[in-house]
Each structure stands twice: as structure tokens, then as C-alpha cells.
Amino acid sequence: MAKKLMKGNEAIGEAAICAGATNYFAYPITPQSEVAEYLSRRLPEVGGVFVQAESEVAVGYMLFGAASTGKRVFTTSSSPGISLMQEALSYMAGAHLPVVLVNIMRGGPGLGGILPAQSDYFQATKGGGHGDYHIIVLAPSSVQEAVDLMILAFDLADKYRTPVMLIGDGMIGQMMESVEFPEQYQTPPSPKEWALTGAVGRKPVVIKSLFLDPIALEKNSLELAKKYEIIKADEVRYELYKVNDKNKLLIFAYGTMARICQTAIDELEEEGIGVGLFRPISLFPFPQKEIYREVIKPNIKALLTVEMSVGQMIEDIERCIVGQKPLGFYGRTGGIVPSPDEVKAAVKKQLGLGK
């Protein structure tokens, strides 16, 4: 298939169709409204359904109901909208429902602004809803990766019967890049045995997150915990950039922030300052062992986390490195994106070079 130029938001919509997901529930919000705009034109062409809900709270429960049928279902939103879905997200995790959510993050807290941010890291990875649960969180850094991870998200959701969230800063949704889709579009999967498909000729199944018997509730939470252990072992994803045995410093950044760091790293290399980048792609499961392995290498003298937030992923980095090396932080927030020059200055400061 020829490469196309697409806005991240459109490409995410097309990727869902590509994964056989044709049931879409959403409420518009900047900076991701183009997903709904694109799919309102595109879904009727493939026999799909787009229901514009009356609010994101309603979206959450439309997802719950539709996912219970075993069909591939999804939504897209941005920070404040995702907050409104947290209750349903907890219910869906508790009920072992496969569903894909996309959060194109904007500045918060509250209504915040419409420019790019990464300040929903805690909410996504630590659970914005209540209860002992996690969701798989994937963070693309390009439009092509958003497409690839969107398709993967549906496979992981089905495989583990869990909600999966694709998390991108506003840039991922708004920027244009060339993309390629797989030749073969998937057909929607056949009904699953746990799904509500009408109980003709078989025992009825029940999908719920209510367990009044504490033994049953504990059992459900332990089943979830067991699932997360398998996910932690098998689904870690990350990428290294210019990591070698001469670098003095290692940067941690994800999403488009990592690309800004790459520009900084390229330019620092020309100045003779060797820096590598560790880019987590799965934020849950977090690449804990892989980060530790890179950090303890003897050439690494210092570490730096760069985020479009006041410091959220850094708490996971701290947990991974267990104080092995000095860790610095550079971040901008509110919709301000750190420039390559700012990253370069932060690297030099962390290495004790110049001012």
C-alpha cells in the first residue's frame, strides 16, 4: 500500500478499522476531535458504528456494554474526557473486558489548555479509577508507531481481556507524518466464549465487577494480579537510541518528548558529549529490569528524565534505578514543549559541564 500523509488523529482512526474495530463511542475534545471527524466519514464505509455520546461518562458505559458482546470497541479522548471515564475504566478492568482507549493528552489539571502535555502519566499507569487494577499503557513517538501500537492494543486487549490505553501528547494527534497500513485489514474476531451473545443452547454468562462475597472479590483481584504479572514478564517494550559503552549520560523520555531529546543528543554528539536515550514504549508494564541493566553500566555517570510535566515518569525511574546513579529532571508543562536547546542545557548541567 502506498504511503499516505496523515494527521496522527486520522491515522489512529484508520488503524482501529485496520484492527477490525468498527464500534466507536466518543465525545469530541481538542486536540483529538479529528479522530471522530475522520471516523464519522470512514466508519459507514466499512459497516461500522460511531455513536457520539452525550458525555464521556456515557462513553465509558457504552464501551462496557459493547465490549461485553466480544466485539472490538474503542474510544478516543483527551485528558479531561479521560478523567470522566475513570469510573467505567475501573469497572471494565474489574470485569476483565477488552477495550481500547486513546488519550491525546493536553495540559491540566482541570480544564487546563489545549496544547500538548504528558501530565496524565500517573492517571494512566497508576489507575485513575479505584481498586486493585492496572491497564496496559502504550506510548507512541511517531504517527507510524501510533498506527502500529493501535493495532497491537486491540490484540493485547483480547489476549489479556483488559483495557489498553494508547497515550500520546497533543503533538501525536495533531502532527502530520507519512504512514503505511498493513495490506491485510483484519476481520472483526468471532464471538468469544465469555461474551454475551444470547444464551441459546448454552449456560448464561455474567459479566460484572460486583462481588459482595469478600472471598469472591479477593479471588477476582488475585486473578487480575496474576494477569499483570504475566503482562509484566511478556509485554515490556522500549527503544534505545545511541546507547553505547562510551556515553556518560542516559536520558529517559517517552512519546514525542523522546524525539526532541534525539535532536539534542545528535547535536551534543557533534560537541563531543556522548548521550544515550532510553525510550519506554510500554509505560505499563514499565521496563524496570531493562532500565536497571542500562543504568548500572560503568560508563554511565548521570541520568536525566525529560517530560512534558513537572515530573511523573521520574517516580518510576527512581523505583527502577534504586539510587544507583544521580538522577536529574527537566520538564515543562502547561502545553509548553521543551526545546532541544533546553534539553542540551539540562544535560550539560547534569554532567557538571559549563554553566
Binding site: K3, L5, M6, T30, P31, G113, I114, L115, Q262, T263
Partner: protein, 261 residues
Amino acid sequence: MNYLGVGFKYPSILTSIVAIVGGFGSGKTEVAVNLTRFLALSEKIPIAIADLDLVNPYFRSREAIAEMEGLGVRVIAPRGGNFYADLPILLPEIRGAIEKREGRLILDVGGDVQGSRALGTLSDAFVSDKYELLMVLNSRRPFTSDVADCLKTMSRIEITAQLKFTGIIANSHMIDETTPEILIEGYRLASSVAEILELPLVFLSAKREILEKMDLLQFKCPVLPLVRSMLKPWERGIASPAACRSSKDEQVRRMTKRTND
């Protein structure tokens, strides 16, 4: 040595109002900013650019304000907190500037049907024969990738804008992955659309680096070389003020050279 070879023509704009329309990804903002820069450097009349993009929240001509003002261009766009608003702010100055018809006014009209609705509310201020309404076509974008799609998209825009197109701009691109083949493909598509609609192909635009690799005589229309202004935060370009100045000097030199030729 002429950096782009000889024999090609720069676009010539004769009307006081030029509205540049296209869906997002068509590159219409990049074209509008570059056309404004070209006019500002080659003409001695007041030049203004107005941002009518009510749809796209990021990467709009508002971003190029500092560079444009440095060239003496009047930029009509919301300021302060509203600069970043995703609200349909249509400044009253825009209507005033359209009615006045002083110098040249370039209108960067937001992508697609929704964006052109803004133009529709101003359509009564346009006087026929005094404006250009130009459609920017990128053959690598959904909804403008073949002749039928282009005709459908353009007719939808004409209905909401309540104005008729007066010309076509061929601007096929894939940002950094643009090749000469993509330009030729886009030129053919735009030529066919122009022929069917009996409209002129006003110009072909593309990044200077690509045009340098090509024989421009194969294009039977004027050519506008582009310098990218709408950059992503990790890209280096003319976004820095110093680079802006040097790019301006270079362009002035080129313009002077062209007049001397």
C-alpha cells in the same frame, strides 16, 4: 548561478485578496506563509496575512507571526490567551481588511468544509474579479487523492464558502519524504482538476530542496519554492530568529537577482 536553473516563472498575483483553502495536510498554511513572504520581499505595497483557521488547533499561520512581522507584514490573528484557543474567533479586522482592499491580503482559510464556513460568513465582502480563491491540492492526502475526490471536496467547500474557486495550487508533499515523483503525480492531478473545472493552475509549490533536483520546465505553470516554517519541536529550520534573518537576506538577494535578470 541561479539556484533553481532558468526558465521557470514565479507566481504572479494580481488581485488584492488571495484566499488559500485546503484540508489539513494540504500544506495550505505553509503555502500561505511562503506566498506572503514572497510577496513581502518582491512587492512594495502593504502586505497582510489573516488567520481564518478556526479548525486546526496546532501548526497554524499564527505560529509564524514573529517572522512575518519581521518582514513588515501585518498579521491579523488573535493575541494573548486567545492565540491558543480552539474557539471560532473571527476577528472583525478581517472583514475590514477584505472590504478595504489595500495592498495584498492573504487569507489562510482553515482546513476543509468546516474551516471554509468562516469564509462563508465573510463572502458578501468579496467583490468578484477582485479576489482569488485558490484550492491547495495534495495528492497524498485522503479526500484529495484522485480527481473525483478533489471535485467532491472542492464542491463541498464552494457550497459552505459561498464563493467560487478561481484557481488551483499543486502542493503534493509528504513533508520530509517528498520525492520528485510525488511532485509530478500531484502536478498531473492538479492539471486534470484544473482542466475539468476550466480553472488556471496558478502555481506549483514545493520545498526548494526538491525543486533543485528537478527540471522545472516540465511544469507548464509558475513555481513557488517553499521554505518550511511550520516545524515540529524536534526539527531545526528557519524557526530561530537568526536563521530567519539569514533566510530573508538570501531571499532578498535572489529577488534582486531576478529583477536584474
